[in-house]
Amino acid sequence: MTSDQHDHSHCLSMFQKLSEYIDNELDEMTCRDIERHVEECVPCKICLETLKRTVNLCKKLESKPVPESVSLKLKEFIQSMSDGRSIVQK
């Protein structure tokens, strides 16, 4: 099967499952099915590789530090809340 004559309905059914494939959420047989298909179908292989890359880029996005001023304000806010609660308890 070449990419010129590949069966679109088959490709579409692969296309729907690519995220589950990437996340390892498919059964063994469906996985093998997809692997066999992308070996032969270039458009689907490109689809899978670019999607995989998209997911990995998202997973690698870095966290930003909390600005000192925000952290300090939060600390004071929490302090005032727990002071209030302690008084109620007593």
Binding site: T54, L61, M81
Partner: protein, 204 residues
């Protein structure tokens, strides 16, 4: 009331601290804040894109945690419960402000059209080492593309791919079926993939 791990169905590093707070040691709440403020702040940035909104989200979430912590049942990880509160706080907040219109993303819009140019090989951006690729500019492009997503898709991709929750955990946090999470996640990823395709097309 003593902490007794055997009583619990699940293990969680936060249970001991939560139980101490619930037994009246409210000063320990600061420790809980220390553990999660950065996570929540980044969750806020990813969901709202705005520093002030992120700050509000962190504060409102901790306020709600403080109010409802005594009702925590130790049936899920504390972190998942925390994100459930953060998520509903975020949704409520955004309803009050003008925001990106809600719309459905259909699988169709990501399926290559008959006449579309389909490259004949995997493009370079999907092949070169990840750390060579991910610079500040690309990071910002991804963050902005996530912000363009309708909220129901954004929530799912942020929880799954950025915050690292599993499908089952995300379903629990958002009170949705796992199948629903999978559908939304796939469409959100395809949307981002299209944005990245466009981003890299400029380089060629």
């Amino acid at each position: 009331m003593m902490y007794n791990p055997d009583r619990r169905k699940i293990q969680d590093k936060d249970f001991e601290l939560v139980e101490a707070i619930n037994s009246g040691r409210f000063e320990l709440f600061q420790e809980l804040v220390k553990r999660y403020e950065q996570k929540l702040y980044n969750f806020g940035l990813r969901m709202c894109g705005d520093v002030c909104d992120a700050e509000d989200l962190v504060q409102d979430t901790f306020l709600n945690v403080f109010r409802y912590l005594k009702d925590f049942r130790y049936e899920t990880k504390f972190k998942n419960w925390l994100y459930r509160i953060a998520t509903s706080t975020c949704i409520k907040k955004r309803r009050k402000s003008k925001f990106a219109p809600e719309r459905e993303l259909s699988l169709d819009e990501f399926w290559p059209k008959e006449d579309a140019h389909i490259p004949d090989a995997v493009p370079e951006w999907a092949q070169i080492p990840l750390n060579k690729l991910l610079n500040v500019e690309l990071s910002n492009t991804i963050r902005n593309a996530i912000l363009e997503l309708p909220e129901k898709y954004r929530l799912v991709i942020v929880l799954r791919d950025l915050e690292g929750f599993s499908t089952a955990e995300t379903a629990q946090i958002l009170n949705l079926k796992p199948s629903n999470i999978k559908v939304r996640l796939h469409r959100a990823r395809l949307y981002l993939r299209d944005k990245l395709k466009g981003y890299f097309a400029h380089d060629e």
